[in-house]
């Protein structure tokens, strides 16, 4: 609640800045905060990445184990994505099972990775209908500094790129790198004061009525979108965000994720 009151007081200030073409932290409207990625930070995981996006810190861990495929897709591996908004990460979070926000974040990140076909799931089938690899993507938010979705998306694909299939542990042959063939990147925008801003900070995100996420692949195609929040968007705004997101995602991919 106190956070909300602060946000209300801040609204005019940020609004006036935007009219002048500025943001609180000096960024351009289409500029991301600083990003750092460190992989291999969780030694017991098959792959992991610690991502910082401005003040936001997220640790993504990948665990892989053999298991049964879903009956309607017997010949492909399984992806299960989960987000934990642990109480450590924000005074607003409470312990307990994932709620609406956490579920939405997990499902949007999952959508990007699944629909881009970034993981070659056919290669993860061992015995059709009986045995496939199951990939668990667990997104652990350590510090909520805003725009969790983009940080979680970057962290997830970075972690997957560093992941090893643990075949030896289960007596199923030799370890090998996880077959990853695309790099989907989520870019989130808000509409505020008639302008579109990428990578909203915690404060900007709280003021915005709506956040809009676009997930873009290496070839520029789109593999996921989510509008979340009460304020509407126009067709024109949607198309502008799609353009901005494609450009921003390409920069992030080139700088941090391509080897």
């Amino acid at each position: 609640m106190s956070d909300d009151v602060m946000a209300e007081i801040h609204r005019d200030y940020l609004f006036n800045l935007i009219l002048k073409g500025e943001r609180d932290d000096g960024r351009a409207f289409d500029e991301f905060r600083d990003i750092t990625i460190e992989t291999g930070v969780a030694g017991m995981a098959e792959g992991s990445a610690l991502v910082t996006l401005g003040d936001t810190q997220i640790l993504v861990g990948i665990k892989i184990q053999p298991g049964e495929p879903f009956p309607d897709t017997p010949d492909v591996g399984v992806i299960i994505t989960n987000t934990e908004l642990i109480p450590m990460a924000s005074p607003d979070y409470e312990a307990g099972p994932p709620r609406e926000t956490a579920i939405e974040i997990a499902r949007v990140v999952d959508r990007g990775i699944r629909e881009s076909k970034a993981i070659d799931l056919e290669k993860l089938c061992m015995v059709k209908g009986e045995k496939v690899w199951i990939i668990f993507i667990d997104i652990h938010v350590l510090n909520n500094g805003g725009n969790i979705i983009d940080a979680a998306s970057i962290g997830s694909i970075a972690a997957l790129l560093s992941t090893t299939l643990p075949a030896e542990r289960y007596g199923l042959g030799e370890d090998s790198p996880l077959p990853v063939r695309d790099i989907p990147v989520a870019v989130t925008a808000i509409e505020f004061g008639g302008e579109l801003l990428l990578d909203p900070s915690l404060e900007e995100g709280k003021l915005a009525g709506t956040v809009y996420t676009v997930i873009t692949n290496s070839d520029g195609s789109i593999s996921g979108m989510q509008k979340s929040g009460a304020e509407p968007l126009t067709i024109d705004q949607v198309m502008r965000v799609v353009e901005m997101a494609g450009t921003a995602a390409a920069k992030i991919r080139e700088k941090f994720l391509e080897v």
């Binding site: 499902r107 520029g220 996921g224 509008k227 009460a230 304020e231 968007l233 126009t234 067709i235």
Partner: protein, 256 residues
């Protein structure tokens, strides 16, 4: 699950004989439920959806009340028997997400500021599912809100667009949804303000733009049907009560 068809579009016709920009048949029945303040039964192709609205009514627990506006609550639920394999009753991660974005789709149009400390409860039950239940639910909810007399900026109309056989098509049916290349559910006001937008699958920017334009056409068609249903029900009733018939232009039109 059924097998993937070899072709989705043959000679410009889809599996069920529709053209690429054609909606499945929609049937609307207003106020089928007696206890709810407003309700709507909607059939869309083989989808069967019941929507009910209660409120504005006191919101419990009280700490969830908002002193400045009504809280819109939206519950999307699928009946256990609504799909091929029985689904376990109760919330799933999917239904929680759909409920959240469903609420988002209506918070803008409902004049929540008129009713502080209250809740406007929207309940969606999917009785029979055949692709596009979230958009069908939004359309039914929109009418149930109007039926309940909740003040709104205007109706919300929704439809999905997608891609099959490399073509952008309106209103995916089950096979197209399961095996198609993309699915984009969209809801908007009559004035074209987008209140709901999701996408999965794979589209180029150009294809997405085409999809948006087609969605606008689809939502306009849905809007006309929704508006017609309200006029048919309420024009008659007003006239019977000896009141002036509601001017047609006012029903569901005000968007700004």
């Amino acid at each position: 699950m059924s097998e993937k068809p070899e072709h989705f579009i043959v000679d410009g016709k889809r599996l069920d004989g529709r053209s690429v920009d054609e909606l499945r048949p929609i049937k609307i029945e207003l106020s089928p439920l007696d206890r709810a303040d407003g309700s709507c039964y909607l059939e869309w192709g083989r989808n069967k959806i019941m929507a009910a609205v209660y409120g504005p009514r006191e919101l419990h627990p009280r700490h969830r009340q908002n002193m400045t506006k009504a809280v819109v609550q939206y519950r999307y639920n699928m009946a256990a028997f609504s799909v091929d394999d029985r689904i376990r009753p109760g919330h799933s991660r999917r239904s929680i997400e759909i409920s959240k974005v469903g609420r988002d789709a209506f918070e803008y149009v409902v004049f929540t500021k008129f009713f502080p400390k209250t809740a406007v409860d929207i309940f969606i039950e999917v009785l029979q599912a055949d692709a596009g239940t979230r958009t069908a639910g939004i359309n039914a909810a929109s009418l149930a809100l109007a039926d309940a007399g909740i003040p709104m900026r205007g109706l919300v109309s929704a439809c999905a667009v997608g891609k099959v056989d490399g073509e952008i098509v309106l209103d995916l049916m089950k096979e197209e949804d399961n095996f198609g290349e993309a699915d984009v559910p969209i809801a908007m006001t009559a004035g074209g303000k987008i209140t709901h937008l999701q996408m999965d699958g794979n589209l180029t920017k150009e294809e997405f733009y085409e999809a948006l334009k087609l969605a606008k056409i689809g939502c306009d068609k849905v809007y006309k049907l929704q508006r017609q249903a309200l006029i048919e029900k309420y024009n008659g009733e007003y006239a019977e009560n000896g009141e002036d018939a509601m001017p047609q232009a006012r029903i569901g039109d005000a968007d700004e």
